[in-house]
C-alpha cells in the first residue's frame, strides 16, 4: 500500500523559503498570489494491506521521524 505524508511548517513559524517563493511569484506578475508555504512530501510504500493499520504506522513514522512537532505539522493522505 502507498501512503503519502505532507510536512509543513506550523502557521506561526517563519518560513523564509516560502516567503521568497511568494515574492518571486509576485515579481513574475502573479498578482493574485497572497502567500506560499513550502513543505516536504513523502511517499511511503508499506507491506500492509489493512488501511487502518497502515495509517497508524505512517502516523507513528510521521511523529517519530518525519516531523519536528515543535515547528511542523503533518497530514497523511491515503490513496
Amino acid at each position: 500500500m502507498k501512503i503519502s505524508a505532507t510536512v509543513t511548517l506550523k502557521k506561526d513559524v517563519l518560513d523564509p523559503q516560502g516567503k521568497v517563493v511568494s515574492q518571486t511569484l509576485k515579481n513574475m506578475g502573479y498578482k493574485s498570489v497572497i502567500n506560499v508555504r513550502q513543505g516536504k512530501y513523502f511517499e511511503i510504500e508499506l507491506n500492509e494491506a489493512d488501511k487502518e493499520k497502515a495509517k497508524k504506522i505512517v502516523e507513528e513514522i510521521s511523529k517519530k521521524l518525519l516531523t519536528n512537532i515543535i515547528i511542523e505539522d503533518y497530514t497523511i493522505n491515503l490513496e
Binding site: 517563519l14 523564509p16 523559503q17 521521524l65 515543535i70 515547528i71
Partner: protein, 227 residues
C-alpha cells in the same frame, strides 16, 4: 579526563575537535555512530559538520543512531556532553536540549568570526571565562537560528541556562550583533542540570595563536578545571 567524539557520516569537524582535545591532554577516543557501547567517558562530544548531508532535518538522522541509547544514558547519569554546531542540532533532535534551530533568517550560510558574551560562567564548560567574558569564535552554519516558544525562553533566562549570546565587540547584545536571527541572540544553551552544552560557534577552531586566536581554549581549560 576521558572523552569520546562521536563520528557520523558527513561530519567534518570531528578531527579538528580531536586535535583540540589532544592539545589539552584530554584522553580521547573516536566512536563510530553505529557502535552500541559508549567507552567510559567523562565527556561526550557531538562534533560539527553535516551529518548525513543534513537530510530530512539537520541532525535528525544522526539523532536516531545506535550509539544514542548510551549517550542518553550518559546524559541522565550527569555525564558531560558538548554539542558543537551540527552537534547542537543533534542534541535538539534527541530532545536533550529544548527548542529548535531554524534556517538562518537571511537564508544565507554564515561563515565568520563573531563575538559572544558568556552569560553563565558557573557551568563546567565556561569556568575559565571568569577572566574574559566577551570572546571571539567562528560560526559556520546555515541552520543556527535558535527558536523556542516564550515559555521555554523564559525558563532559559530565569534559570540562567543561556551560556552564550551573540554580541558586538563591546558586549552589546542587539539585533545588529545577531548573525542568524536567533531568539534573544542565543548562541548556546545548557540543560537544566547544566551537564549538557549545545553551541553554534566552534571553540575547536580557535585554540592556537597560529589559527588567529585562542578564545576557544577557555572551553577546554574549563572542562579540565571542572574535574
Amino acid at each position: 579526563m576521558n572523552s569520546s567524539v562521536i563520528v557520523f557520516p558527513g561530519s567534518n569537524c570531528d578531527r579538528d575537535i580531536a586535535v583540540a582535545l589532544e592539545k589539552f591532554q584530554i584522553n580521547n577516543q573516536m566512536v563510530w555512530h553505529n557502535e552500541t557501547n559508549l567507552p567510559k567517558s567523562d565527556l561526550v562530544i557531538l562534533p560539527g559538520g553535516f551529518s548525513y548531508g543534513d537530510y530530512l532535518r539537520t541532525g535528525c538522522i544522526a539523532s536516531k543512531s545506535r550509539i544514542m541509547h548510551d549517550i542518553i544514558k550518559h546524559a541522565n547519569e550527569g555525564g558531560l556532553i558538548l554539542g558543537i554546531c551540527n552537534g547542537f542540532q543533534i542534541l535538539i533532535e534527541i530532545g536533550l536540549l529544548p527548542g529548535v534551530l531554524l534556517r538562518n533568517k537571511k537564508l544565507r550560510f554564515v561563515s565568520k568570526n563573531v563575538y559572544l558574551k558568556v552569560i553563565n560562567i558557573e557551568n563546567q564548560f565556561c569556568l575559565s571565562c571568569v577572566k574574559k567574558n566577551i570572546i571571539e569564535l567562528p560560526i559556520a552554519h546555515n541552520e543556527g537560528n535558535y527558536f523556542a516558544d516564550d515559555k521555554i525562553l523564559q525558563n532559559l533566562e530565569d534559570n540562567n541556562l543561556i551560556a552564550f549570546k551573540y554580541c558586538d565587540e563591546k558586549g552589546n547584545i542587539s539585533n545588529n550583533s545577531n548573525p542568524n536571527g536567533s531568539s534573544n541572540n542565543i548562541a548556546g544553551i545548557l540543560n537544566n542540570n547544566k551537564n549538557i552544552l549545545g553551541m553554534m560557534p566552534h571553540p575547536e577552531r580557535l585554540i592556537d595563536p597560529i589559527l588567529s586566536g585562542e578564545d576557544g581554549s577557555m572551553i577546554f581549560e574549563s572542562l579540565l578545571k571542572s574535574q
